[in-house]
Symmetry: C2
Subunit: 264 residues, 2 copies
């Protein structure tokens, strides 16, 4: 009677922890979902070989329509492992399943995985305690002024904003950094508060956690045309920057020397 949520971490089948691998090897039943996040280099045959076990793929419908009945039944009969990209609960998708399990008297445990949230902050060289509220920039067909407003609110407090960019993994659609910036510039054109202009510094990141992540810091007018390659993507709009943060952007993210004058 046990359900263990195991994070797969980022990018591929080697992003899981040693602990996570051991839990998987000793499970009675193993489930995995791949719809909450993209893991570009994940190989199921390689993973099944590493664990010596068969993994059952779970679709969004299995969880949303059936309330995860298959998983809960397996957990009632023995030890079930549910493999989730990133960290199991950074996205709130699976919190309900965990609550349902506990209510059914099934013991739950969490083996954490690397989350895109901390990987991005860590790669950026920006100081962790200077990030304000995080926001997701939705696709144009779901347009919202919220991201602009959150950035404005954070900037007022001198804080950085991590902007996650919307994705529809099942449709293989990923909002690019260029599109995200254009959507923010549209709001600027209307509101005219000077929050996101051609001269605003920004940082784009592609494939954090992969073997070839791309980081590029520049002013928005340049970044809006920069080619970041394949997804997943994310975007940071810095607030006030310490000179060590500026140095890091120059050293790790190819920021132009003009960034020096942004130090506070």
């Amino acid at each position: 009677m046990e359900l263990v949520f195991v994070g797969l971490g980022l990018n591929d089948d080697k992003g899981i922890t040693v602990k996570g691998l051991e839990e998987t090897r000793t499970a009675d039943a193993i489930f995995m979902e791949t719809y909450t996040s993209r893991m570009p280099d994940f190989s199921m045959p390689r993973f099944e070989q590493a664990t010596g076990r068969k993994v059952q793929l779970i679709k969004r419908q299995d969880l949303e329509e059936d309330n995860g009945k298959v998983i809960l039944q397996a957990a009632k009969a023995g030890k079930a492992v549910f493999l989730v990209p990133g960290d199991p609960f950074i996205a709130t998708t699976h919190v309900t399943l965990r609550i349902d399990a506990e209510k059914a008297g099934i013991k739950t445990r969490v083996v954490h995985g690397i989350s895109i949230m901390s990987a991005i902050v860590s790669l950026s060289g920006l100081h962790n305690y200077k990030f304000g509220k995080t926001v997701t920039v939705p696709f144009a067909d779901n347009f919202s002024e919220t991201p602009y407003n959150v950035i404005a609110q954070n900037k007022k407090l001198g804080l950085h904003t991590l902007c996650l960019l919307d994705l529809r993994a099942a449709e293989n659609r990923y909002l690019t950094i260029n599109e995200g910036l254009k959507l923010l510039l549209e709001v600027e054109a209307k509101k005219n508060l000077g929050i996101i202009t051609a001269a605003t510094p920004a940082l784009g990141l592609a494939r954090a956690g992969g073997d070839n992540p791309v980081l590029k810091a520049d002013f928005v007018e340049k970044l809006v045309n920069y080619d970041f390659g394949q997804p997943p993507f994310s975007l940071i709009i810095p607030g006030d920057m310490h000179f060590m943060e500026v140095d890091a952007l120059i050293a790790f993210a190819g920021a132009p020397a003009e960034f020096k004058r942004l130090s506070r």
Copy 2:
């Protein structure tokens, strides 16, 4: 000519990713520091056996006084791996070493580890995008009103505050959740803004990432006397809570039923 920063993740020698373990096995020289964070169940003999390699422990002085000369020299001669608790750059301690390496023409890479930041958010069941600025509560001998002010600012925006609690790993000193709350209540007694009172809901977490993490949500008057056991500790002061967040605190953190009326 390569320096790979590898995150050890949380708690023990099995918190490292499979990728991190492989990088360690194939390195020409391996260094590790254990002073930026506590890993209560880390066993060096077990880790050296798992990697088949000898690991050289690095002290704070080696990095601060010598600017990591030993590590940089090894990286110039071949592939050096530097093992760091958590994620290598969530604490800013090692950003300078990475900048120095890049300036010396040494290629650097990052293999992420699980960060306490995302593990705590994930365990809490609170929504990730509703966290504001993070803050560290210092020891009484280094007293500051900043944590109180950050919590006040976040609450005004309806946001949760993750409070890291100060530690001096070398002295084996860890600010407890009880002490942290008392320090915040002291500021409240002076400022009287109603930010942290006996009736404020809060969430304490001990040993996130370990096999027996303790989560306890309650009103401050109760939590201030709750026994969380061994460190490391952290504290979350929630802002406005969605009913699903309240449900999660009741299911996973033993919050009393009175928390229901806090839903917004």
